[in-house]
Symmetry: C2
Subunit: 777 residues, 2 copies
């Protein structure tokens, strides 16, 4: 065995010499796949072409000229606008966060007040009827607007934003209609007592606002602003959307520092110091705005929006000292959280695949599915509390028992006066209130272990079943509430072996489950500290998160990566697969290469653009413009389209000089909104113009990134990801060959694609060795 392995190691995985001699005849034997493995979404109805974004600075003569003409005042305008936009994103983020919470608290509050009043009068069937009617109506509304107006608004939105920041432009995720549906749909879905959260949708919402601002508003709805023209490029848009995602989380949890870290740890693929500062500014604005509104609401001007309005679980207690004896319980929580979290991810994956099958059958099926889940949830929420026995109110309760109002720890439900139903206190409430009840201190004996267990199991599965329905649904809150319930359950079981109070156990349980399914560390830690307002918890939360993440990482990926994979986004990981070290870029690059001459005939250009779908073309100069054939740079399809549309043509093939610049302004090259692009078919060119020429030189990026053909695929992947590239030119190492061997795009780095080309790697030791190792390395 040992010797066999050694032999295997001695043989190269891919015999380059051999391959290069036979590749011309028998290439298909080795390379079997077409390059689209990752373009087909498993989840999400339509199979759309997913485009990459241009995060690279396109340095062509035109850009340089334009940049240099820019007066100092223009640059100050740009800087001023950059900060103003961040400020606006912060303000809007704060407003949206407040509005969603206000709406949910009032709608769900009204529902619970009406139902509770009927319960008080012991009209149980009426109560159930109205509860069910409310829930179904709201779910139906949410599902219908999502299915008919903007299917892209379904789900959390975090995977889409994360993919965008990685350079993947999924269609329709940043449109005005998505924004509106996301906000209204999420309010209805959450108010319908579905086990869905509002944090994820809020991240998407604020990112969407940032994207709309940066693309200069929406032309369709005549909301445009000329000053925003500076930001019509993918780089600035990406920066602003990063700020938006941070602001979204900050608004959801009132956690400004947590929001920054969330954007840094989970969302952004590309980061720099200046961005940290700007993100921080944005979330600071969110914090200030939220605080101002809460001040307003504290004087009872917001209807049913009370203390429950924004998650802020105050678990400050004098008893936060902990001892070595508490460590085993904390470690246990971490391990359990890791196991449950990875199981959760895997079940969610399976569920989404099944749902996809149903959803693909049409809108009616989607809506029926949503209503089924809603009905199931309603029945469980209303029915399960009857299982629990009524308990007499504790004598020393710190608040009214049983609770009269909408929120509180001791729900009366069907119980007699002086008694409360502990399961109803958890079930018959908004999720925010359930979390608050679970996190509350000095209530160690309030919840019976069986109630906690029932609550946990129900939540765990309802959370999995609810995410995939056709409505804007988040994951954070269901995960927190589920984690808190088993945390408290374990606390109850530990009994006197630990001195930690059960509210603390609930917080740690939430931490462990979050760590197990979302796999963030620092950001979750800070978010939890900010929402519980207790810094002394820090070391315990850190330990729990580290343990649960480590355990869970052994089994599968984090939940957003799983969803992104299901959606078919070609996400570039930050690490390379081990077998990629054994392949060179020459092994994956394919011909024939389409290229242009520096001065090219319009007919050729139109022909190539019509017959291929490439987005970047190398420009190669030959005599008489250069001594020998040499690559000049890379030109983007969309820039060529601008030249064709503006008809920057020449009658004779000779360099234009600066004449061409007069015809064009930098606005012509501005990147349009997500998913919108010119098409070659829409440009009319006369037969006479077809015979003319275009000088591509001034519009060609003369500084493209290049890789020698023997660079390992792993290293090229790192460069591609670190520099945020869309195209990577592969150049030969020797002279006497065409100056460009090929172009790599993000699809060429996808493991599915590479393994499709070299299926034997699938079974090689390098594949097996993986074992999720890269994550630990």
């Amino acid at each position: 065995m040992e010797s066999q392995r050694d032999e295997e190691a001695q043989q190269p995985l891919i015999d380059h010499d051999h391959q290069s001699t036979v590749s011309t005849e028998s290439a298909p034997l080795q390379r079997s796949a077409i390059n689209s493995t990752s373009q087909v979404a498993l989840v999400g109805a339509k199979v759309c072409p997913i485009e990459s974004l241009d995060y690279e600075i396109i340095e062509n003569d035109f850009f340089k000229q334009d940049w240099r003409r820019g007066e100092t005042v223009e640059i100050f305008k740009y800087i001023f606008m950059k900060w103003t936009l961040c400020f606006l994103v912060g303000v809007m983020g704060g407003l949206v966060g407040f509005f969603i919470n206000l709406a949910v608290e009032n709608i769900a509050g009204t529902k619970f007040v009406i139902t509770s009043n009927m319960m008080l009068e012991r009209k149980f069937m009426y109560a159930f009827g109205s509860f069910a009617a409310f829930n179904l109506g709201l779910t139906l509304f949410s599902a219908i607007i999502t299915a008919f107006i903007s299917p892209a608004a379904a789900g959390s939105g975090i995977p889409e934003v994360k993919a965008y920041l990685n350079g993947v432009d999924a269609p329709g995720i940043f449109s005005v209609r998505t924004l509106v549906v996301k906000i209204i749909g999420n309010i209805s879905a959450v108010s319908a007592s579905l086990y869905v959260g509002k944090a994820g949708p809020m991240v998407h919402t604020v990112s969407c606002i940032a994207a709309l601002l940066s693309q200069g508003g929406s032309k369709k709805y005549h909301l445009t602003w000329r000053w925003l023209r500076f930001f019509k490029n993918d780089r600035d848009r990406r920066d602003l959307i990063t700020c938006g995602s941070a602001a979204g989380l900050a608004a959801a949890f009132r956690a400004p520092v947590g929001g920054v870290l969330f954007a840094l740890e989970e969302m952004a693929s590309w980061w720099r110091s200046a961005l940290l500062w700007r993100t921080f500014f944005t979330t600071a604005v969110v914090a200030v705005i939220l605080r101002a509104f809460i001040d307003v609401c504290n004087s009872d001007k917001c209807g049913l929006f009370g203390k429950g309005g924004l998650i802020m679980f105050d678990v400050t207690s004098t008893n936060t000292s902990y001892h070595v004896a508490d460590v085993p319980a904390v470690l246990l929580l971490g391990v359990v959280g890791g196991l449950l979290g990875s199981l959760y991810n895997s079940l969610l994956d399976k569920t989404l695949r099944v749902y996809n099958y149903i959803n693909n059958k049409g809108r009616a099926h989607k809506i029926i599915l949503a209503c089924t889940i809603c009905a199931l949830t309603t029945i469980l929420l209303f029915g399960l509390p009857w299982v629990s026995k009524c308990k007499p109110c504790p004598v020393d309760a710190s608040e009214a028992c049983p609770t009269i109002g909408r929120s509180g720890n001791y729900k009366k439900y069907q119980c007699l006066p002086g008694h409360y139903n502990d399961l109803a206190s958890l079930f018959f409430n908004t999720n925010d209130d359930a979390i608050r009840n679970l996190f509350s201190k000095d209530t160690d004996t309030e919840f019976q272990p069986t109630s906690l267990l029932i609550f946990f199991v129900t939540n765990y599965f309802l959370g999995i079943l609810s995410y995939g329905i056709v409505a804007p649904t988040g994951l954070f809150v269901p995960i927190i509430v589920t984690g808190a319930s088993y945390g408290r359950f374990i606390g109850r079981l530990s009994g006197s072996r630990t001195s930690l109070n059960h509210g603390l156990f609930a917080v740690l349980g939430a931490a462990s489950f979050l760590g197990g399914s979302m796999r963030m560390t620092v950001s979750l830690c800070v978010v939890l500290l900010e929402i519980t307002n207790n810094l002394l918890l820090l070391p315990l939360v850190m330990v729990v998160l580290l343990v649960s993440k480590t355990v869970a990482d052994m089994f599968n990926n984090n939940i957003y990566d799983i969803i992104m994979k299901l959606k078919g986004f070609p996400y570039l990981e930050a690490h390379a697969e081990p077998y990629m070290r054994q392949l060179t870029v020459g092994d994956v690059v394919k011909g024939p290469l389409q290229s242009f001459s520096g001065i090219e005939q319009v007919r050729n250009i139109v022909h190539v653009l019509t017959t291929t779908s490439h987005n970047g073309f190398p420009v190669i100069d030959g005599p008489p413009f250069s001594d020998s054939r040499a690559w000049f740079g890379l030109i983007l399809r969309e820039h060529i389209l601008v030249l064709l549309r503006k008809k920057v043509f020449l009658h004779v093939p000779q360099p234009t000089g600066t004449g061409a610049f007069e015809q064009l302004s930098s606005d012509d090259f501005a990147k349009r909104g997500s998913g919108k692009a010119d098409k070659i078919e829409d440009i009319e060119i006369t037969e006479e113009e077809m015979e003319m020429f275009i000088d591509l030189h001034p519009f060609t990026n003369a500084s493209p990134y290049t890789a020698g053909e023997t660079m390992s695929l792993a290293k090229a992947l790192m460069m591609f990801r670190e520099a945020g590239l869309r195209h990577l030119l592969v150049v030969p190492k020797d002279s006497g060959r065409p100056p460009v061997v090929g172009i790599l795009t993000r699809h060429d780095f996808m493991p599915e694609h590479v393994l499709g080309m070299y299926p034997h790697l699938e079974n090689s030791r390098w594949k097996k060795l993986r074992l999720h190792l890269p994550k630990f390395v």
Copy 2:
């Protein structure tokens, strides 16, 4: 004026056509500098060659073979060791942090107890005498060990670590002697009541521990461990040192999350998600260790180490609500902090230049300078409290007045019973206690405005004067204490116009001054929250930091960048200067290029290594090994030296195959500790061997990063920095030229170097336009 500008803009900055035709004859006219502008330190006695680090993965056949032979168990060992090392760094960080605090509290405590007892007996001259003797003795000790044993231990150490993480290997910063001197010297300097901090040295200390662990201990002191061999490369070392710097700050302030953010925001030049997780783990260990020791000390087992042991200023107060009326005061603090901070940086810069002049005269001068500063400090500390009038103790004081013990808010000093001296409460204390007094709540009337003003002015200038002496000195604590004093002063002046308490003003003042001189945002914010244990301050601290950083950024750089510049570290900024967009890599690359053939004669290799100081050489194949001349890759000097030392020679020039691998193990290529490297002069080669050959192919990195010669310098800089490169191959765009044009190293990107080559850029609009703009963009 306007038209002239336009004309200027139309003309290219550098006329490439013109230049390329004349460059062969008249190059010196355009390019005037030698490439060493940034290698000469202004501060720091010896002018040492500063080497770059290899953060790039060297992918040669030998590495690939070695990696593939690695069994799964080896990989698990590697992962296990990676986490074990982080754990060890955390443990050692916690221990060092605790030990330094314990020592300072006990030494300084003893000093203050003895002096105070004499004061109580009204023996003022004796008190002064013993105070001065203590201080001078401790300063002398610190200065002598620093000057004679390890000059590299002087100062904060943060700039050195930051430069290391950027890829600059300053000599001697990570040696055992530096570690020892840093710890002991810092304890003495801080105990001597000098206005120096312990946070910076702690960051350096723990980074140093991390570096020593990763280089497998110290051979010199026979402290080595075989398992550590995995980490003998610059990449793993860098990762561990990043964890170390985070652990250092976490230990200094008991701020684990702040430590992580500090490493991310200020220290690291290169970051990835996995590192965030590991850093977080390290600081969590630090937090747990510190907590354990504090539990031990709470039962009075640590001598004079009391509550003051570790900075943990509990300013939790019920009155942390704030209103719109408080905003002007907060903004004022931010602006003042920004102005004072940038002035501080500029004065420190000037002071260090003067000190450098003195220090260069020899060790005696250095030590005399240190003693002078100590004498000045002692006189001010002892003398200034006499200026202040004694105040009667407040009736409702929450603690004993006047203070009997060592720490407390109401120092008796020379006053009569029942009275206290407010200036002595600030001056005649450790800095930590002064901060605690300033941050304390419910003491709004304790300090008179004049006392606060005197304290602020003294601190401001003593802080500037003390940093540059020959001792391990930090910047954090002096800046916090200075900031807190003017914060409280402004609070006192605001009077009834704001409802914020003065302790809060002190915290915000500290934030503003930190923001103004260190220019961090998120990390400082979190550190301040963690040390004050009050999350409700968050929005105010955020606003203050943002304002002060913005104001200060208009004037100069952050303090660490200034010190790095003075020390001559070729630090690669994350942004490019505007004029770099107008230059191509071809404009800065220089010939003649030294290169090797794939199979090269030993004599040639030895000749080139002896006559040049380059660290990387392109390997270029020609016939018969390749059809035409082609570059094969890049080989490092240190790898060639290994081959020479191991005498991997061939009698005839033919490829070796795998035979060469038998002679070598990967340990041979292990990177040695900082500053240590083989020298060509130390390798003895016989005349017969000189005639032999070496096959360089298996040891050549066949995946070097390349740039086309027309890539703009700005873009190449981004690539260089983002990928953490040491060498960048410049390749021609056309065939018919040598396959490699030149090699770029970090020195080629230094603004001083580029401006030295093209002096006219200095006066061009592009230089002036700078205006610190890149920081805002």
